[in-house]
Symmetry: C3
């Protein structure tokens, strides 16, 4: 039973309302159509999902069209599941084209991107078999992902900035993704390489493998903002989030998935998984921000605005705004830090809600200074002592909050 061609935008609106009114219907929190790469040896294994577009708490009308197009081509959509994934069939495309009809002509440039996807799929379906190359995924809730497509749509949501870092449920994602050899944008099963190694090598046709990983690289899927620079694609994993204006240098830098920047940041060091760096900050050459899996006792590290992490410094605690960690020193949760009376008083000025007693000499553990503004961490080169003082970097206090 096919969808009849819809002639007007009014009729389209009624159609959507009818679809959404069906029993048990749930608007998806996310949906999208992707092209998948399947295993060379095990075609049922999906190695990668490439989305030209994802929808994240948006475009519910388009979602309704795709759901109706599936239903009317014989698929059953289970709205009680956390996610649903289907092959994209010719019948589904025909249905979607019929439903999107009032928008087909104007779907170009920035307008109606979901309709553009359907138009392009219709064009492809005219020329070749769709086979099982295309898939459509709906997430009805942000539960632990069950499919490769669900993992990828979540990584896209993070990398496109549609979902906040640390806000998405990626539990079990590592177990769902295949470990593959990446030849440019194309994933290969390691077993297929093994089975064909003799033939490939003797014929000079062995592919140039650039990485072996479950995740692809950010730049394989994401087009950054005009003022964002990434000098080496290997340095940013898919699922990282880079705010416009961020620059990632090629020395020791690295940004893992579910980590990144919330403003223009200069990145010459490591932003481990779950770490977030704020606007105007500078992660110096070789500086390490520890992740939840590497020494922070599970506490994710947030770095505030206008912070300077010196070259080869290590930071294992969250920092407020306007902080400095000097080159080459490590500030971890257990690091003891000495602050003089005068400096602690100056630091308090930019941390008005911090209720701390001021002694002549004050000794803190790193974790006690977590998230405080305007602190400059240093090592006294005459005594080796780790000390802190008021940094000379600006801290903008939000007057409304204090």
């Amino acid at each position: 039973m096919a969808i009849e061609k819809i002639e007007t935008k009014e009729a389209f609106k009624s159609f959507i309302e009818k679809v959404e009114a069906q029993d048990g219907y749930r608007k998806p929190v996310a949906f999208g159509i992707c092209r998948v790469d399947r295993g060379q040896k095990n075609r049922d294994k999906i190695l990668q999902a490439v989305f030209p577009l994802i929808n994240w708490n948006e475009n519910f009308g388009s979602a309704a069209v795709l759901i109706a197009a599936l239903q009317d081509s014989g698929e059953k959509v289970d709205f009680t599941a956390s996610e649903q994934v289907f092959d994209v069939s010719d019948a589904m495309i025909v249905n979607a084209v019929a439903a999107f009809n009032p928008y087909l002509a104007e779907a170009e440039g920035d307008a109606h991107k979901n309709v553009q996807v359907i138009k392009e799929l219709a064009r492809i379906a005219d020329c070749e078999e769709l086979d099982d190359n295309f898939r459509v995924v709906f997430l009805f809730e942000d539960a632990a992902p069950q499919s490769v497509e669900a993992v990828y749509i979540k990584l896209y949501a993070l990398s496109l900035g549609k979902a906040a870092l640390r806000s998405v449920n990626l539990n079990g994602a590592f177990g769902i993704l295949q470990n593959v050899a990446w030849f440019g944008n194309e994933p290969f099963e390691l077993d297929w390489l093994r089975e064909n190694e003799i033939e490939l090598k003797l014929n000079g046709a062995y592919p140039e493998i650039e990485s072996v990983d479950k995740f692809p690289r950010y730049l394989q899927h994401i087009i950054p903002a005009d003022n964002t620079r990434i000098l080496d694609s290997a340095k940013v994993r898919m699922g990282a989030q880079l705010h416009p204006g961020t620059t990632v240098m090629p020395g020791a830098s690295y940004i893992n998935f579910n980590a990144g920047t919330t403003g223009a940041v200069m990145v010459e060091g490591r932003i481990s998984s779950s770490a977030i760096v704020g606007p105007g900050s500078d992660v110096g050459g070789g500086a390490s921000i520890l992740g939840v899996l590497s020494g922070t006792n599970g506490n994710p590290v947030t770095i505030g605005e206008n912070v300077l992490l010196g070259a080869n410094s290590v930071t294992g605690i969250p920092l407020g705004d306007g902080c400095i960690v000097d080159a080459g020193i490590a500030i971890l949760e257990g690091t003891k830090v000495v602050i003089s009376k005068a400096e602690l008083e100056k630091i308090k000025e930019v941390n008005p809600s911090w209720d701390v007693a001021v002694e002549d000499e004050n000794i803190f553990k790193g974790v006690e200074l977590a998230g405080k503004n305007g602190i400059h961490f240093r090592q006294n080169s005459m005594t080796g002592q780790i000390i802190a003082m008021r940094s000379r970097r600006e801290v903008k206090l939000n007057a409304e909050l204090h």
Copy 2:
């Protein structure tokens, strides 16, 4: 004089015995057939040797076949030499096919890989000239390599885990390899690029050079285990050894040739040439393990099991099991380290064979703590002193040894 087609496995066995019984015959410690890349300008220079398969103290029957196939096609094999290399000729292939005849049908999948190589070469020889694209190399002893093919088969032996790290004679290998420009898997002579620069550049055909080095990258030649991950192919040089389960991140990490891991290791730092890291250990972001050429007085560094090297730490001494080097500190042979009485007693418990007198305060040079288990190296942030204590990481003592 050609080898006659062998009809049965029994006859094959006799054939091998006859070959091996010849005067002066030596079983090769290593052999293999490779496809070579030759200089664009100097065709007699071999720039790279790609092996679909190498044999290392194994498959002596196949070695005998290849030697007989060479001899019966007119080549003289000098068993007194440390190595011998020959072009693979049509006549040699015909001979080898005749000898391997009882195994041809069953040579597929994981069975009879050497026979598979010959089968594929026979197929290629049917379609095109072999020219001098293929070479066969035999090492009759592990002496200093004399040819590019010999260097490569040794690098393969290390990278495939067929030879232990530091166990192979690579003396003079650097002098044998050409420094070339790598365009993907293909090596180019720098002089050829120079001579063709004007034409290539004006026609938009200049190749995308990814590195200029004597060595290729590990992933150009080696298929890692299913649970091994290498996030950037530039980070692991051919000749490195990665035990299954090893992960190499793309930040500051690097594994040189004749260095690597002997268990599942998380690598986010540098494993310099000759350094070895044991199972369950973690080389933190930017951590440096010094190599024999960089500050260890020629003593190669072995890191034990379950060791944690903190971010941006530097280790210039061997470490036993269950050690920790804190983030940002350097432990070199000459570094003075203070250990309290109580901690030294605890450390002795996990180093039962260590005969050391315990004082109230004990000062060691780094080199005196080399290879000891269960030590946690720290810098006291109140005094700047480098101290050591018993780490909280588990040390599994082998009861049989103590």
Copy 3:
């Protein structure tokens, strides 16, 4: 009005003299012909300029030919401008061929490279339209660059070693270059990728982007010396200068534009923009040399000969010859450094012009030790104090200077 075919080298000489005698003629400090990559979307935007050859204060006869070839094909060359850029037209090529006629036959190999460029362009013009793919640029003075071609010819001058580091005016270069996505050697406009994302991705034709940057990589344009090695092309930016014999490892290393080496140097760390490292020196794994934009108060750092920067060290001051900075320590302008009487006297011996009073204990700020020879910077591991002593590395004093 075309140039008439010149028949003899004598006539060529006269021709050049006539061209150079014209009113207002200025010999260009730099000139060259490049192939340009233009925007896929905005064809008037030049994304990259590839020079097969540049001239830097040299080959003024060839410059005169190109200028005359332009003038006689109807272009007006403004010698009062700091730079001039023109499309290369068929008419210009015909003119240049006519003028270069006495050299055409012998222009091959290393001889008459500018003539070779014209010959190849003439060959291309015979086969296809030149369109606006080729450009010729003249710099009449080293002023702030006004065009992409001018920026590139200056980066080439640095990277080819034709101009000394820090000697070239690059003011405003960042503003002139487009930020583009690099697919191998080919630059793409980000907006073009955005407009074609749906089509490219659904058809499996999305390009493998390797970086997003205004600058290309050194190895996209430059052929290094036979004994130079760069293990990862991402590590060296166009505009860097690498003296023959320099090796750049793939760990944490990086060399920015307008930075590099003036002798054979082992680079495993970061050489920031404006930093220069001298012959025989070793930049250890993860070592950072700060740049003018990262903590040196605008003072560019020069590292002398035979210097060793330890793994993960940080250097923010210039160093003389034969210095050592120990692994893991940071020497910045404000770092206080203690030197004993005996050691300071030894240091003075290799710094004969240093007029310093020697006390029992001497405390210097890092900046006061800038450029001094033979200093070994250490951290006392018993007290945490930063100290300095006479290094054991050789300092070759120039007898003529002292």
